[in-house]
C-alpha cells in the first residue's frame, strides 16, 4: 500500500512538472511574439528623422565650406598671386574645398580678370560657386584691390578643375546673365513713367497678400532703375 501511495505521489509530481513546462512554452512563444515586433518598431522609429536632420547639416556644411574656398580665392588675389591657380582638397577643419582661379583676360584699366570658382562635396551633397573677380595692379604694394561680382551658386556636381564642367557652369550662369542684360536693357530704355506704369499694371495679376504693398515696391524699383 505504501509503495502504491508513493507511486501516486510521484505521478502527481510528474503531472505538476508537466503543467509548469506547458505554461512556460506558451509564455516563451507569446513573449517572443510580443517582444520581437516591439523591438523592431522601436528600432525603426526616429531613424528617418535623424537622417533628414543630418542631410540638412551636410547641406549647410557643404555650402559653408565652398564659401570658405571662395573667400580664400579672394585673399590669394589680394595677396597679389597672379595667373592660373588650381588648388584641390584644401582643408578647412575636417572638410575640404577646391579652388580654381582661371584668368579670362585684361580689363579696361589693365586689371586682371578671373573666374573665381570654388566647390565642396560632402557625401552626396555638392555646392559650387562661380563669380567674376577683377584684380588691380598693386600701387605700390599688396594688398591689391580686388572686386568680385555676380556670384552664382549651384548644387549640381560640377568639377571645377574640368574644363567641360566649367564651360557648363558658364553656360548655366550665362543664361541668367543674359536675362539680367534683358532686364537692364529694359530699365535703361524705358522712361521712369513708362517703367513705373508697366510694373504697376502687374498689380492685377498679383496675389492679394502682395497688392497693398505693391506701390511701395514699384517706387523702390523705380528708384533703382538704371538710366542710359
Amino acid at each position: 500500500m505504501d509503495v502504491e501511495n508513493e507511486m501516486v505521489d510521484q505521478e502527481m509530481y510528474i503531472v505538476h512538472i508537466s503543467n509548469k513546462k506547458g505554461i512556460a512554452i506558451v509564455m516563451v512563444i507569446g513573449l517572443v511574439a510580443i517582444i520581437v515586433p516591439v523591438l523592431y518598431l522601436l528600432s525603426r522609429l526616429g531613424t528617418s528623422h535623424v537622417k533628414l536632420a543630418v542631410k540638412y547639416q551636410e547641406n549647410l556644411q557643404t555650402e559653408t565650406t565652398a564659401f570658405s574656398g571662395s573667400n580664400a580665392g579672394i585673399s590669394r588675389l589680394r595677396g597679389n598671386l597672379r595667373g592660373y591657380q588650381n588648388l584641390t582638397n584644401q582643408l578647412i577643419g575636417d572638410e575640404s574645398y577646391n579652388l580654381n582661379l582661371r584668368p579670362t583676360g585684361k580689363g579696361f584699366f589693365q586689371q586682371d580678370l578671373y573666374f573665381l570658382l570654388s566647390n565642396s562635396k560632402i557625401k552626396s551633397h555638392h555646392y559650387a560657386i562661380m563669380a567674376e573677380a577683377e584684380q588691380f595692379n598693386p600701387e605700390p604694394d599688396p594688398p591689391v584691390l580686388v572686386i568680385s561680382r555676380d556670384y552664382w551658386n549651384t548644387i549640381e556636381p560640377y568639377e571645377i578643375d574640368q574644363i567641360a564642367d566649367v564651360l557648363s557652369m558658364q553656360n548655366d550662369r550665362g543664361v541668367d546673365l543674359l536675362r539680367l542684360d534683358e532686364t537692364r536693357d529694359y530699365e535703361k530704355n524705358a522712361t521712369p513713367a513708362q517703367y513705373s506704369s508697366e510694373m504697376q499694371a502687374k498689380s492685377d495679376w498679383l496675389p492679394e497678400e502682395l497688392v497693398p504693398d505693391w506701390p511701395e515696391i514699384v517706387d523702390n524699383l523705380k528708384s533703382e532703375k538704371l538710366s542710359m
Binding site: I23, G30, H49, L52, N153, E198, P207, L221, E224
Partner: protein, 172 residues
C-alpha cells in the same frame, strides 16, 4: 492496479493541455497589457517629438530654399528700413534676383503656406510656383535690419518649432 497503470501510461504525454494554454495566455495577457500601455505612452510621446522634429525639418528646408535664391540676389525691395531707420518686418519678402527679375515669397494665412512668385522685371505676367514652399506654417516674418537693403532675417514657426536665419545678399 492494472487500471491505475493504464491510467499512468495515458497520463504521460508530451502535448500541452487547454488549462496550460489558458494559464499561459492569462499571464501573457497581463504582461501584454503592461507592455501595450507602456508602448502606447511611448508612441504618444514620440508623436509629440516627431511633430517638433517635422516642424524643425520644414523650417530648415524652407530656409534653405529661400536662402539659396536670396544669397545671389541683387537687392531687397521689400521690406526695407522704416523712414526713421527702425527695423521693418513683414510676412513677405520681395527682391531682385540674380537675373534681375522680381521674386516674392509670401505667406498665405488662410492656407498656412509660403508661396513663391516671379514677376518679370519688364513686360510679362507673373509666374506662380505650382507647389507651396512650405505648409503648416504658423507664422513667418522677414525683417530688414540694414540700410543697404542687403541683410534679411527670416523668422518662422511651424508646428510649434521656431527658426531664425539671416541671409546677406552677395551681388550688387
Amino acid at each position: 492496479m492494472f487500471m491505475y497503470q493504464l491510467f499512468k501510461k495515458t497520463k504521460k504525454r508530451s502535448g500541452i493541455t487547454l488549462v496550460e494554454i489558458m494559464v499561459g495566455s492569462a499571464i501573457l495577457a497581463f504582461i501584454g497589457g503592461i507592455v501595450g500601455h507602456w508602448f502606447f505612452m511611448q508612441r504618444q510621446y514620440q508623436r509629440r517629438i516627431f511633430e517638433i522634429s517635422d516642424g524643425q525639418q520644414s523650417i530648415r528646408q524652407t530656409s534653405w530654399a529661400m536662402m539659396q535664391e536670396l544669397r545671389t540676389a541683387r537687392s531687397v525691395l521689400f521690406p526695407r528700413l522704416n523712414p526713421d531707420n527702425s527695423i521693418h518686418s513683414d510676412s513677405k519678402v520681395v527682391f531682385k534676383s540674380f537675373s534681375g527679375d522680381v521674386i516674392c515669397y509670401y505667406y498665405n494665412a488662410s492656407q498656412r503656406e509660403i508661396r513663391r512668385c516671379k514677376i518679370p522685371n519688364g513686360p510679362g505676367a507673373p509666374e506662380f510656383d505650382p507647389e507651396p514652399i512650405a505648409k503648416d506654417v504658423s507664422q513667418i516674418i522677414f525683417t530688414a535690419s540694414d540700410d543697404g537693403n542687403r541683410l534679411i532675417d527670416i523668422f518662422m514657426e511651424i508646428k510649434g518649432s521656431f527658426g531664425l536665419e539671416s541671409v546677406y545678399l552677395m551681388n550688387e
